[in-house]
């Protein structure tokens, strides 16, 4: 605990010289410094994220003042690579502001259209949870930050529009987070399963294979349940934990749990 008490004297600027000379001298010094080059960045013509400014901007007078090289993981407008998107819904589930909606993109099977995220930038808070959650790295945040529109509806970015952002090859957030070691796995409540293949069909990563199981002997006096004698087996290392299988399971026989 300090015993020292701050007084105007301790700041070393106590006795004002000629009333106002000191601040005026300070202002004049700043004036002379900024005569050559004020620290203003002439925005529409110069941009901070230009490669030029990444190196040049520094803590010094006579140059625009900044720290430089700070754009590596900026969280701006998203870029979506539709080609690698697996429609796992994880972005939409991880969004705290509920601004991501999965909409069908044209092409592919019309019965089971591919769904990709559509982002409403009027709600998005640029927290980056979605790109952190994206298992394939196809939804990523770029350094693009300008987005001003005249109609509210223009703020809703469809997957195609997000893909356009992607095609502009803007610098993207390179940070990929480690998956936690003790993630939950998809477990099967085997007696309930009817082997319908829905989970394997809809799995975005194709990590579920339907394995044959031996058909048991029917107990006396009872009929075997009508089912296909197959059971899903989840490959945990490929699984992205999106839970699509759980939501499509007609019998609710898949659930989250710890694999032992």
């Amino acid at each position: 605990m300090t015993e020292e008490v701050l007084t105007p004297e301790t700041s070393g600027n106590d006795n004002p010289v000629l009333w106002v000379a000191r601040p005026m001298a300070t202002a004049a010094r700043q004036f002379l410094k900024s005569l050559i080059r004020p620290s203003t960045i002439v925005y529409p013509f110069e941009r901070l994220e230009d490669p030029k400014f990444r190196e040049e901007v520094q803590v010094a007078a006579g140059k625009p003042i900044g720290v430089g090289a700070v754009w590596d993981n900026y969280r701006g407008v998203h870029a979506l690579n539709i080609a690698t998107c697996i429609s796992c819904n994880l972005c939409s589930f991880s969004c705290p502001d509920l601004c991501i909606e999965m909409v069908a993109v044209p092409g592919g099977n019309p019965k089971h259209p591919k769904k990709c995220p559509q982002i409403d930038y009027g709600k998005c808070s640029y927290c980056g949870f979605c790109s952190d959650a994206c298992p394939e790295g196809c939804l990523s945040m770029t350094t693009r930050y300008e987005l001003s529109v005249t109609k509210r509806s223009e703020m809703v970015y469809s997957p195609q529009k997000l893909f356009e952002v992607f095609e502009r090859k803007l610098p993207m957030n390179p940070i990929r987070l480690e998956r936690p070691a003790n993630e939950d796995a998809i477990l099967l409540d085997a007696p309930l399963c009817i082997g319908c293949n829905a989970c394997a069909r809809d799995c975005p990563t194709q990590c579920i294979t339907m394995m044959d199981i031996p058909k048991p002997e029917a107990p006396a006096g009872a009929k075997l349940p009508r089912r296909i004698w197959k059971e899903p087996v989840v490959n945990d290392s490929d699984c992205v934990r999106c839970g699509t299988c759980i939501s499509v399971c007609p019998k609710e026989c898949l659930f989250w749990g710890t694999r032992t």
Partner: protein, 375 residues
């Protein structure tokens, strides 16, 4: 008096009217070359030239302040409208012209419109009085300094009228402060001018400047200069004495309720007064359009050299005002008034005494020993 702006205007009008008259039938031509008409038109042309010149000057002054203030603040100031933002203030003015001007329902109609207009007009009249160079204005007024100061001090009245009639509490407080401040600083202002008058022995600005041909007054009358600049800052309502429009507590001070063109009047008049203040400092203390002898004569003898040097001095003085604005906070009302009544007036009186002493012991030549430095 050789060539003056008025005589140029007069001659121009005479020339044009004679030319027109020469092609017209006789009765009309006699009527149109009538001396009275020529004088009247000459005055109008003179006034128009004066108005345009002074308004352009004011607008350039605003631009100058914005750019200069920008550099003091490590930024650039207006730069995208016109070359280096020169057209920015024209854009501002035109936009304000187009804007709706409306009067609050409870406001007093007469005062609400009269205040800014009269403020503007009385500020602009000053340009007709102050000489910028030999022969710039209409002629020799024996009491031009006194007239200028009288017109200059109309302002608090109109500010108070407009503040009162806009029926807003902030406006009212701003108006009260403004009136109190201007009245308090009127006295030291006049007293410091008295010091100049004592030394120069004349109320005519032309004479005062002519007296400074060899030595500018800021050396012998340094105290008067300090008092004059401080009082002038208060009169112009610039930082550190800009309490009436203190943005932090009274939203915009006495022009809170004004928008559109009326606001433009206020804005413009403020800068007109700033320009006039700088004029007065240059005229009274910095030798007006005269230049010290060591300046090569080539630099002082080209056409309009007087005006050019005068304006250079004016802008330098104004730059100092901007510098003060960039570096100092504003003072408080009571402190301002206390400084005004308790410090400024005694200092001003002292400066008068000093000036009288300077005249009495005839030590002007002492300062005049360095006449060629312009000190």
């Amino acid at each position: 008096m050789t060539v003056s702006l008025y005589s140029v205007a007069h001659d121009l009008v005479a020339l044009v009217l004679t030319a027109i008259g020469s092609v017209l039938p006789a009765p009309l031509s006699r009527w149109i070359t009538n001396a009275g008409l020529i004088t009247a038109l000459g005055v109008i042309v003179f006034a128009a030239i004066l108005l345009i010149a002074s308004m352009l000057n004011t607008i350039v002054l605003i631009w100058f302040e914005r750019k200069l203030l920008g550099r003091f603040m490590d930024r650039r100031g207006a730069m995208h409208v016109g070359f280096a933002g020169l057209l920015q203030n024209f854009a501002d003015g035109l936009k304000l012209m187009r804007k709706n001007t409306f009067r609050p329902e409870e406001a007093d109609g007469l005062g609400f419109y009269l205040g800014p207009t009269a403020y503007m007009v009385t500020s602009l009249i000053l340009f007709g009085i102050l000489p910028v160079s030999t022969g710039w204005n209409s002629g020799v007024l024996p009491l031009s300094l006194l007239l200028a100061l009288v017109v200059f001090s109309f302002a608090p009245l109109f500010i108070f009228i407009s503040a009162w009639s806009s029926n807003n509490k902030y406006s009212l407080m701003g108006g009260m402060r403004s009136a109190a401040q201007m009245i308090a600083y009127e006295v030291p202002l006049l007293l410091s001018v008295v010091a100049v008058v004592v030394v120069s022995g004349s109320f005519d600005l032309n004479t005062i400047v002519a007296q400074q041909q060899n030595y500018w007054y800021w050396g012998p009358l340094f105290l008067a200069l300090i008092v004059f600049v401080a009082a002038m800052l208060a009169e112009m309502e610039r930082i550190p004495f800009d309490l009436p429009e203190a943005e932090a507590e009274l939203v915009e001070g006495w022009n809170t309720e004004y928008g559109g063109m009326l606001f433009a009047f206020f804005m413009l008049s403020d800068y007109v007064r700033a320009l006039v203040g700088s004029f007065l400092v240059v005229l009274l203390f910095l030798g007006g359009w005269t230049m010290p002898g060591w300046v090569p004569s080539a630099a002082t003898s080209f056409p309009l050299a007087g005006i050019v040097w005068f304006m250079v001095k004016v802008y330098i003085v104004f730059a100092v005002f901007v510098w003060i604005r960039a570096a100092l906070p504003r003072v408080r009302t009571d402190q301002l008034l206390r400084v005004g009544w308790n410090r400024m007036i005694p200092l001003a009186l002292l400066s008068v005494v000093l000036a009288a002493g300077v005249v009495m012991v005839k030590c002007l030549p002492v300062f005049g020993c360095l006449p060629n430095l312009g000190i």
